[in-house]
């Protein structure tokens, strides 16, 4: 029998952890360097999303291995698992899910506490920068590895004056897993 799924807190307590400050400053330095090298804010947004995607497609393996989560029944469960287990075991913070549309294919993930943005202020020259865009890439990449194509956009951003971070997740397509071999008739 498979071991029961573990809660985000339990997993987080068992992984190796580092000082969040180091992580925050590293991310900040990376964004700053990208701005210096790429110059255009839109390019940086795209690059952060791409980096996030590359990270997400690998992070999902660690997530599945450590959390013992079995297949989610529907997208609603998937979103809950991302918010309660995923964010907790990596970033140490819990997110919440809300604003479901009637079909159950679009929802919002809301983060009130975000270690990426501690002590960060956006200067006027960077209006239009989605500082946390790496997160949208990570979620998109991770979901794609479990056969869900999604579109993720930022609705609220604390660095732009809002009261929380809100990501809008829209399920575009669920690609069922295809077995490479035909069943014997």
């Amino acid at each position: 029998m498979a071991p029961p799924p573990r809660s985000g807190d339990a997993i987080f307590a068992n992984v190796d952890r580092v000082n969040a400050e180091l992580f925050t400053l590293t991310y900040g330095a990376i964004v700053r360097q990208l701005l210096t090298d790429l110059e255009e804010v839109d390019e940086v947004n795209k690059q952060l999303d791409q980096m996030g995607y590359n990270i997400g497609i690998r992070l999902i393996d660690e997530f599945l291995a450590k959390s013992n989560i079995s297949t989610c029944v529907d997208f609603k469960e998937t979103a809950e698992v991302i918010a309660k287990v995923g964010f907790k075991m990596f970033l140490g913070v819990t997110a919440s899910v809300s604003n479901w549309d009637p079909e159950g294919t679009t929802c919002s993930i809301i983060l009130e506490d975000n270690p990426l943005v501690d002590f960060v202020e956006l200067p006027d020259t960077c209006q239009g920068l989605y500082y946390c865009n790496i997160l949208s890439g990570v979620v998109r990449g991770a979901l794609e590895m479990v056969s869900m194509k999604t579109e993720i956009t930022w609705v609220r951003d604390m660095l732009r004056g809002d009261d929380a971070f809100e990501l809008r997740l829209k399920l575009l397509k669920q690609v069922p897993e295809e077995y490479p071999y035909k069943d014997d008739e």
Binding site: A20, T26, R32, L59, F90
Partner: protein, 230 residues
């Protein structure tokens, strides 16, 4: 204990950054990749050192400052101290960490010379990407020391994994100082040049300025030196 995140977050972020730079916009230009990664490390080292030395009194000399880097500072970042520190007393220091966390899981079996056995789909030479990865901790050390007003050049060597050996070479330059102060909502930039050999006077200089400006209730935003300034 302050806030924490999982270590794999940091690892994977660094790996992805180095990979993006190496395979992406600076593909084929390893010097630029190295520069960028080192600059990121420099920024981090500088800011972390600033935060960790805010409460402390100044260091009496360079050796004390470097010992701080090897103990308290290294512990805060890597949860252990530097294992050995050696110096030739002429400005070169060698720091050895026997189990450097960030490369403790990197394979030792790939040598610089073997390239023929890899499938052609691998986009990057492993040894080169490992080297790029090391520029980040080098930058951290250089940034931290520059915050303590000790300009230096840092190189790292992982020929004997999992230990990492960093070499610091202290530089001797004439410096230009710049201080940015916030006063009544304005940012004021003061700049002046000093022809001064590196000595403990620099640390004292920075410490005294910070104290004086603090007493005048002026908040100092940055106090740094820059050898290319002016």
């Amino acid at each position: 204990m302050g806030k924490e995140v999982s270590e794999s977050c940091l690892d994977i972020l660094l790996i992805e950054t180095v990979s993006s730079y190496t395979n992406g916009f600076y593909a084929g230009k390893p010097e630029l990749v190295a520069q960028a990664v080192e600059a990121i490390g420099y920024q981090v080292g500088n800011q972390l050192c600033e935060r960790y030395t805010m409460e402390r009194s100044q260091f009496s000399d360079h050796l004390e400052a470097i010992k701080f880097i090897c103990t308290d500072f290294w512990i805060k970042i890597f949860k252990k101290q530097i294992d050995t520190l050696r110096t030739d007393h002429k400005g070169t220091f060698v720091l050895r960490d026997n189990r450097f966390r960030w490369i403790s899981r990197v394979s030792n079996s790939i040598s610089e010379d073997s390239g023929a056995t890899f499938p052609s789909t691998l986009p990057v030479n492993f040894a080169q990407s490992r080297k790029m990865h090391l520029y980040f901790p080098c930058g951290i050390i250089r940034g931290a020391l520059s915050n303590l007003t000790i300009p230096c050049a840092v190189t790292a060597d992982i020929s004997s994994l999992p230990s990492c050996v960093s070499r610091l070479h202290l530089l001797d330059v004439s410096l230009a100082w710049s201080i940015v102060i916030r006063y009544k909502g304005l940012h004021i930039l003061l700049c002046f040049r000093i022809k001064h050999k590196i000595s403990q006077g620099m640390l004292e200089f920075k410490y005294n300025w910070t104290k004086v400006l603090g007493q005048l209730k002026l908040s100092v935003l940055t106090l740094s030196f820059d050898k290319t300034f002016l």
